[in-house]
Amino acid sequence: MPSHTFTVNGRSVTVDAPDDLPLLWVLRDMLGVRGPKYGCGVDVCKACTSHLDGTDVRPCVVPVSACAGKTVTTIEGLADGDELHPVQEAWLEQDVSQCGFCQPGQIMAAVALLRRTATPTDEDIDAIANICRCGTYFRIREAIRSAAAKMRAA
């Protein structure tokens, strides 16, 4: 069984797994990192969204072999200890979550967007394709706007 070494939320890990095993299952079933959620397994719902070397990816379709030597950040790795990321703070301020199941992915997608642009337009926000079955989209939009403003001011 091939072995893969990479960093997850600041911790170096080595796992023995088939090359093509999706990162999502390495995280959830082998490493016990359960923030990223399964919603479809085929890059459609985006619930599993996490970061690979700072870029948003869908771990359900990223083979573990593609992570060797790289840095994976999941929702658990976003806050700095007890200090939340401004996007997480904005999510609390807007009380975005309903069932919460899509929100780790929504937040990781929003963080990636704000990394690409400090002033996201409505079209930029529209382009986030993460499904929220509870329909929290409007509060997500407000939270992204609010986080963007605060991050620009900081």
Partner: protein, 743 residues
């Protein structure tokens, strides 16, 4: 005219709270026996009250739950933590937060000290552990406050005894009892003394009058919000149950099909990571070290399948059968003008974000189950019987879930996990794939509607609505609730079928439309169905709101003013007026864009929705703006109510415009959100304003399902005005624009 809906006087109900022997304060509450009684009809209104005006489904829930003793358990611990065991499920609707607000309010405790935990399945609760029908806050509002008020009274009495003062001299705030001389004692330090059964509590305990509320009615954020944004919130498959291995099922190519034979069991068992391959009635289960490996193995299985009950059934036939079963409306009197309309609604998936899932640990002599369950008692009873274990050897934990919309009234994943765990003698974590959840999961039944309204001289003389629906499955405990309360129902209803009772106790018209009648005809199809947020109302009331617009057009009236003229009460008009004002009803819109408005009343609550739609790009019709007004009587947490209204709006955007299931030879074609076109950010309005009215009554109405029907009507009406077409078949855009996954 100022009318009023006669409602059962629930303020007469009272609750008895008992001390439980425990080291620190622990209480349970049950309702006293003065059960609700339907009030006589108010004969002064031109349209006689519908059954749902007299006694709605929520009343039945309240009535059925009343006699259950030991309903609510509250404990104050030595560190000041207040624990409340909630016999309901949290699926995102905000119930745990609303209950925490009620507990903190009556105890004068900080919200952060309150923990609301989901109660395990407790069969002794009988009818009092079913989450549905927007009923939880309605049924819990009285007893939760009584329980917390009693706890507060005992804590005060304990402090009074300690200090040798009269309890009436003491005050409470922020989890602390305070004496006039400045001495203080926090609740934790009093919890043991307050548990003393010999403690005298002079004057008993009465919940605060609403005028003294400091938390109820103020917006509160979810108590679990931080856990949700940090990934710490634990859903069923996130639980660490020792040794529980991932499990997925290969399901039949048609709904309800059976397993005949597995051709390559040994080869699949030899695949990397695979631990077991076992056959259960609903499919072939693979247990593996990771879900990735289980999914690969599932795909490699070669299975021959037996037929299901609906193998050749497709949409066209469902539609034909529904039309044939639906009786025609009565002939209108000669020369009376009328509006006729027929509507079709497709099957719709519940599609909760968290697919059906469960963890099970079944041993020789006992079993333990974890799952998101809205009817855990029936789940526990069914699973115990299936496993051949005594009921008291089966523990069923209710886990907070990633959405439900009615889906988790059923417990199929829990039953499957129990069967697999028993067969392979190890704990398992069973997950439905999204494709299975979309295709084999339950569906909102397809429906057909015939509506005929007659009118003359500016009055609507009659409004007749005939609904035919694929049968809705209510075999999850709701039946027992209705059966148990049938004797107390208005004349005749006690003999109606379950579906008829549900239909008649939920669907009603807010308008004075003369002789108003509704019938429901259900046909069995073999398709697995289940209540979907607002049950019959989304389609039934949605269709009616479309006809209201058509009546207005026929009589040359503005849709808003027409509704206003026919609504029954001032409270209804206040909600409609607010939506029209805030939404700038009538403002000019470019060609291809339009406003639409609709109204709905249910669950002792009422709402109006005004939307704007842009249909200029026919491939991407978008609701661009929405204004929603909700009057829920007494909003416990307006922020939570607002969230529910936004959710209901998104449901309506999705199911009205694009999201439906095509049934094709016994299986839906859709297999994921890319095919079952649930709205994404780009499909939803950039401008949403929700107004939750301050308290208009003394008790909360329901809110969880309230938002859907009015939004369906408003969106369809806006679409009609923007396109000049009549909305008749839903979803409005319903092409098979994808390649279905293989069966």
């Amino acid at each position: 005219m100022t009318g009023h809906s006669p409602t059962p006087d629930r303020s007469r109900r009272s609750f008895l709270t008992h001390l439980v022997a425990a080291p620190t304060l622990a209480l349970v509450t049950r309702a006293a026996s003065d059960a609700l009684a339907p009030q006589p009809a108010d004969a002064a209104v031109p349209t006689l009250p519908a059954i749902a005006d007299l006694v709605d489904l929520g009343d039945l829930f309240i009535l059925a739950g009343a006699p259950t003793s030991a309903l609510l358990a509250l404990a104050v611990e030595a560190d000041g933590t207040i624990r409340f065991r909630l016999p309901r499920e949290e699926v995102g609707q905000g119930l745990t937060t609303a209950v925490a607000v009620l507990v903190a309010e009556e105890l004068d405790a900080p919200l952060t000290a309150v923990r609301v935990e989901l109660e395990d399945a407790r069969p002794e609760l009988l009818f009092n552990q079913l989450t549905g029908s927007s009923n939880s806050i309605r049924s819990l509002y009285g007893p939760v406050r009584q329980t917390a008020a009693t706890a507060r009274a005992r804590l005060v009495a304990a402090a009074a005894a300690r200090w040798g003062l009269a309890p009436s001299a003491l005050t409470t705030a922020n989890g602390v009892v305070r004496a006039p001389d400045g001495r203080t004692a926090d609740y934790g330090s009093l919890a043991a003394a307050a548990a003393d059964p010999t403690l005298a509590v002079p004057g008993g305990a009465t919940p605060k009058p609403p005028a003294r509320h400091t938390l109820v009615g103020r917006p509160a954020g979810r108590i679990d919000a931080r856990a949700m944004v940090t990934g710490a919130q634990r859903y069923t498959l996130d639980l660490d149950v020792p040794g529980a291995k991932p499990c997925v099922l290969r399901r039949p190519p048609t709904l309800g099909g059976s397993v005949r034979a597995v051709a390559n069991r040994a080869a699949v068992e030899a695949m990397p990571g695979v631990l077991h391959v076992v056959t259960i009635p609903t499919g072939v289960a693979v247990v593996a070290e990771t879900f990735g490996q289980a999914l690969d193995a599932k795909a490699a299985l070669q299975v021959t399948w037996g037929p299901g009950p609906a193998d050749r059934l497709s949409d066209a036939e469902v539609r034909t059968r529904l039309r044939a079963a639906n009786p025609p409306p009565l002939l209108p009197p000669l020369l009376t003008p009328y509006v006729d309309a027929e509507f079709d609604f497709a099957f719709v998936s519940h599609a909760p974000m968290e697919t059906n899932s469960a963890v099970a640990d079944v041993r020789e002599d006992r079993a333990e189950i974890w799952s998101g369950l809205k009817s855990p008692i029936v789940a526990r009873e069914t699973i115990a019987a299936d496993l051949g274990l005594p009921l008291d050897k089966v523990t069923v934990h209710v886990v907070q879930a990633g959405g439900s919309f009615g889906r988790r009234l059923f417990f199929d994943a829990a039953l499957e996990a129990a069967r697999v765990s028993k067969a392979c003698r190890r704990p398992v974590r069973l997950m439905w794939t999204r494709v299975d959840d979309t295709r084999h999961g339950r569906m909102r039944p397809a429906t057909h509607h015939r509506i005929r309204a007659t009118y003359a001289l500016g009055e609507v003389l009659s409004f007749e609505h005939r609904v035919a629906a694929a049968e809705t499955d209510f075999r999850h405990g709701l039946g027992e609730i209705i059966t148990a309360t049938a004797a107390g129902l208005p004349s005749g209803l006690g003999n109606a079928t379950l579906a008829q009772t549900l239909f008649l106790t939920t669907v009603k018209s807010p308008y004075h439309f003369g002789l108003t009648t509704r019938t429901l005809t259900e046909i069995p199809t073999g398709v697995p169905t289940g209540s979907w947020r607002s049950v019959y109302s989304a389609n039934t009331r949605g269709a009616e709101e479309i006809v209201v617009d058509e009546l207005a057009a026929r009589t040359g009236k503005d849709p808003y003013l027409f509704r206003r003229a026919f609504l029954k009460t001032d409270a209804q008009r206040a909600v409609l007026d607010k939506a029209a004002q805030e939404g700038e009803w009538g403002r000019p819109m470019p060609a291809g864009c339009a406003q639409g408005i609709a109204f709905h009343e249910e669950y002792k609550s009422r709402t109006a929705c005004l939307v704007e739609i842009d249909t200029r790009d026919p491939r991407h019709v978008r609701v661009t703006k929405a204004v929603v007004v909700a009057d829920v009587g007494l909003p416990v947490n307006p922020r939570g109510v607002e969230a529910q209204m936004i959710g209901g709006l998104t449901d309506a955007v999705s199911t009205t415009l694009r999201a439906g299931l095509h049934l094709d030879n016994g299986l839906p074609l859709e297999g994921s959100y890319s095919q079952f076109h649930w709205a994404r950010q780009r499909d939803t309005p950039r401008d949403v304003r929700v107004f939750v009215l301050p308290a208009t009554g003394t008790e909360p109405g329901g809110a969880g399902e309230l938002g859907v029907p009015a939004a369906v009507g408003a969106i369809a009406n806006a679409w009609a005005r923007a396109t000049g077409s009549k909305p008749r078949s839903f979803p409005l855009s319903f092409d098979v624009d994808f390649t279905p996954y293989p069966r």
